[in-house]
Amino acid sequence: MIEFDLLRLGSSQKISIADDVRTDLELDKIVSVASKGDELVAKTWFDVLLSKKTSIEDVRYRQEAVKDALANREVVTKMYQIAKEGYEKAYREVFIFRLDDPRLVVYEASNGIKILTDYLEKLLGIVSNANFTSRAFKGLVESFTSNIDEDFIAKAREISETLWLGNGVDFRVEIGPLNNLVNPVLLVPKNERSFLNRLLSMEKRYTYKLDPRDEAGSTIIDDMIKWVLSRVATPLLNAFDRLMDFFKDLARQLSFYVGAINLSDFLDELGIPKTYPMVDSRRFFFENLYPLSLAVSSKSRPVPSSLEINVDGSFAVIITGVNKGGKTTFLKSVGQAIILARAGLFVPADSFIVPTTGAVFTHFLREEEITFSYGKFEEEVKRFKKLAESLSRGDYVLMDESFVSTNHVEASVVAENVVSALLDSGINVLYITFLQDFLYRFVPKNKNRAVLLVPERQSDGTRTFKLVKGSIQPGYALELWKRIVEKQQGAS
């Protein structure tokens, strides 16, 4: 049996809130660069990027294959084209629109097998000359070439040609209850031209010739042929389906690597560096990480950012500060990079280390949640509850202004409860928030595993769109109040 697995997705499903994550992190922009409009690439990318479970081993396996694909880009691209073309050609030319007409099924399925056999032959030609080094691609080539050879292609051709031509049927049949003909077995046609065969069969055959005016008879004969073909139609159809599945599956798995080649080209063009992420359970670290979706929409190299946190089971990054300071861009770029990292892809940075290969979940502010209303707050809480139900240890939760649909005092309490609970459960949290009570209580309390980031301002007041570590300054508001009030008092 031909077996290969270029993706190692196993039976992993997409995460429960895949659509939210896709929108919040602007994954469509990244995927558009990878797919260049190829729908199959796009679909596979979303499957991989949003997949729920990924082990370190899976990540290494895919990283190795991505490197291999970049090194053998012509072969990979060619294989993908053949697989896709074969599938699409058969899909276009084979019409099995009903399963109750064995004659139609046999004709169409054998035509399909004929078409796909040609493509198998082409694949065989390319694969035989490939020089892969990764486990993924080596496995594919090995399994394919040990199952498909010249002999297989010749036999598949012979069968499909014979059944496709449909020159009558030759079958074995028994006489069953009520003297009905039963158990028809379609036979591989005998070579009637051999002299001996003809000589032997001459005297022992019984021939019935249909009267040309016998229309009912010809309908019955037609029906009888369908009856004989009905048994062979199912395995033939299955053979065709199996071939189709093979091509479809091959194209799908290759499409991921085609996307990787495209994304790599894009980054190279903009001069953005690529790094293959590492996993280190004690660190969350990156250096010059470029916001990828921003690079896609601006077609330029944006401002990169860097971060280093020691991780003790889990970590929290709390982000606050003035608007337009690049907070959301930062949050998105980190989310995108983690997603690329666990997919086994390269990341647009000089270096990138993640503590886990957990999945990324997002809980971003929805525009309609800005007004205060307990109804809306309830909705928001429900949405968060749904997200929380599918979390596992090691996952990442990216929150952008969660819990703002009620007043900040009670929202802070909720936020503190939620974030503490996540952190204590081994979930990593990145949270943009203005909830003051929360900031002043949570950050000092979690000194060892939480960091506070604020937009950088240079001494002259200009913004750099970088985030830097900040600190909590207790009494700031009081001071501010005092300041303003006293200023006014002073003025009056």
């Binding site: 049996m1 031909i2 399963l99 109750d100 007409d101 064995p102 099924v105 498909i148 297989f152 598949a156 069968i159 020159n167 009558g168 049927v169 030759d170 079958f171 074995r172 049949v173 028994e174 006489i175 209850p177 009520l178 003297n179 009905n180 003909l181 077995v185 379609l186 036979l187 591989v188 069969s201 055959r205 019984y206 021939t207 019935y208 010739k209 249909l210 040309p212 009912a216 008879g217 309908t219 019955i220 004969i221 029906d223 009888m224 042929i225 009856w227 009905s230 062979v232 139609a233 199912t234 395995p235 033939l236 159809l237 299955n238 053979a239 389906d241 199996r242 599945d245 093979f246 599956d249």
Partner: protein
């Protein structure tokens, strides 16, 4: 079947809704003979007991299953013989053989299995003796032997056929390679996700002249096998015994009824074999309406009299189940007279010779008589025809006159029935009738949870002193005092 009954009175069939009932029992079965059996109550207690005993046997699951299979198989054999009449010669031989094989096997299995199960009723015991005489006969044994030989011969015939254009060629089969296996082997190296199946239903039959021609061909290569089939056909022209055929026609009367019973029993309803009292006593517990049980659910009720008082007057709230109660009891008596189990937990009743009904007819403008006149005519007819073993069910007779006069008429009518010692269920809104000293008063009870709704329980007691309509009015503040205070 025992003896046949006498066609029931049309009025009764219609008032007691017997046709709807039979239609439920028979389901899709449209056999006229079976229908007519259900419309013919028996007039002797012996014939009823004969049938009820057959029911006792057949209600045992094992006996039922064995009998059911015999019926199915003999019907199958009969259908082969029917087809044979129109078939081509090569098919005739096969149909005839399989009719015989099916019939022989069915009869032998029925006999041996029934013998080990043991049956008690005269009906089934008699038939079993009859079957023994058949299966032990020389004729039957010879038929079986020849049939088996012919069957073995048929299995040996294996041919190769080629269809090419308008030509069909037949050979004796001498080996070949199965295309299906070749395909499966070749493509098994590709993984299979889910497999689609080609489903083909031939539009033409399998017994055409083309099929016949192929068989002719086969017979040419298999001479001695053909001879075995042909000889069987010639030697045993008649396959199915007439007595067996009659049994297969009659026994569904029991089987259809039993399968109907089982359907209701699976919903928790009971059926019982009725007992017939000789002292005039009626003691029926937990009887219910079959039609309601089938559809929405039915409430069971009891009916009792020692036989001293025989007239039941049923009063009580609107839509409280009074008519259903009376109709259900009428149906129960009717079914008992058919000799079938009845819908109740237990049923002891006299053997009624006749059931008479008087239900309100829709006023028919073509009829010259008014409703009151019709009631009186029917009442007179009933008084004339009834005796001490008659059951009368009267539903709101004399309701189209004043209460006072209606009461007078009812009193006269019931007094006459009382004198004749007839049984009667009399539904009325006139509570005075229920207070007559020779009647048993039954009352439709409200639901204990909500006194404005019925419970469908009908129990002995005095008619209600307060009217439902008044109670409803007070609930909404329409009493005298309330209105006074509001109007002030």
């Amino acid at each position: 079947m025992g003896s046949r009954g006498i066609r029931a009175d049309e009025q009764v069939l219609s008032d007691l809704r017997i046709r709807e009932l039979v239609s439920l029992i028979l389901g899709k079965e449209r056999d006229e003979f079976l229908w007519s059996l259900f419309l013919e109550p028996l007039d002797s207690i012996d014939s009823v007991v004969y049938r009820l005993n057959v029911f006792r046997d057949l209600m045992r699951t094992e006996v039922y299953v064995v009998t059911e299979r015999l019926v199915e198989k003999v019907r199958e054999a009969l259908s082969y013989l029917e087809t044979e009449k129109e078939a081509y010669e090569p098919h005739k031989l096969g149909l005839h053989l399989d009719a015989a094989l099916t019939y022989i096997d069915a009869l032998e299995r029925f006999y041996s299995e029934m013998l080990s199960l043991g049956v008690e009723s005269d009906g089934l015991k008699g038939f079993l003796d009859y079957v023994r005489s058949i299966v032990e006969s020389e004729h039957f044994k010879a038929m079986k032997e020849k049939a088996m030989k012919a069957k073995e011969a048929r299995v040996r015939m294996v041919i190769r056929v080629r269809i090419m254009g308008d030509r069909v060629v037949v050979w004796r089969f001498d080996g070949g390679v199965d295309m299906e296996k070749v395909i499966e082997e070749l493509f098994s190296r590709f993984r299979s996700e889910e497999s689609r199946k080609v489903k083909y239903i031939p539009t033409t039959g399998g017994m055409s002249h083309i099929h016949a021609a192929i068989l002719e061909g086969a017979f040419k290569f298999y001479g001695s096998e053909y001879k075995a089939l042909k000889e069987f056909y010639d030697e045993f022209p008649k396959i199915i015994d007439d007595g067996v055929a009659a049994f297969v026609r009659e026994i569904p009367f029991y089987m259809l009824y039993i399968s109907f019973m089982k359907k209701l029993m699976s919903k928790g309803y009971s059926f019982t074999i009725p007992r017939f009292t000789s002292d005039g006593r009626i003691d029926v517990r937990g009887f219910y309406n079959i039609m309601l049980a089938e559809k929405t659910g039915a409430v069971p009720n009891d009916l009792f009299t020692s036989g001293e008082k025989r007239i039941f007057v049923i009063t009580g709230m609107n839509s409280g189940g009074k008519t259903t109660f009376a109709t259900s009891f009428g149906q129960l008596v009717y079914l008992a007279k058919l000799g079938v189990p009845v819908p109740a937990q237990s049923a002891e009743i006299p053997f009624f010779t006749a059931i008479l009904t008087a239900y309100p007819a829709r006023e028919d403008p073509r009829e010259s008589l008014s409703r009151l006149e019709q009631d009186i005519v029917r009442a007179a007819e009933i008084m004339h025809r009834s005796d001490s073993s008659t059951l009368i069910i009267a539903n709101e007779l004399f309701s189209t006159t004043t209460s006072d006069e209606g009461f007078q008429l009812a009193k006269i009518f019931l007094e006459e029935l009382w004198r004749k010692r007839s049984y009667c269920l009399f539904i009325t809104f006139l509570s005075g009738v229920a207070l007559l000293d020779f009647v048993i008063s039954l009352v439709a009870q409200p639901s204990p949870e909500d006194p404005l709704k019925p419970s469908y329980k009908i129990v002995p007691g005095l008619p209600p002193s307060e009217y439902m309509a008044v109670r409803i009015a007070s609930k909404h503040g329409l009493t005298y005092n309330d209105l006074r205070m509001v109007v002030g």
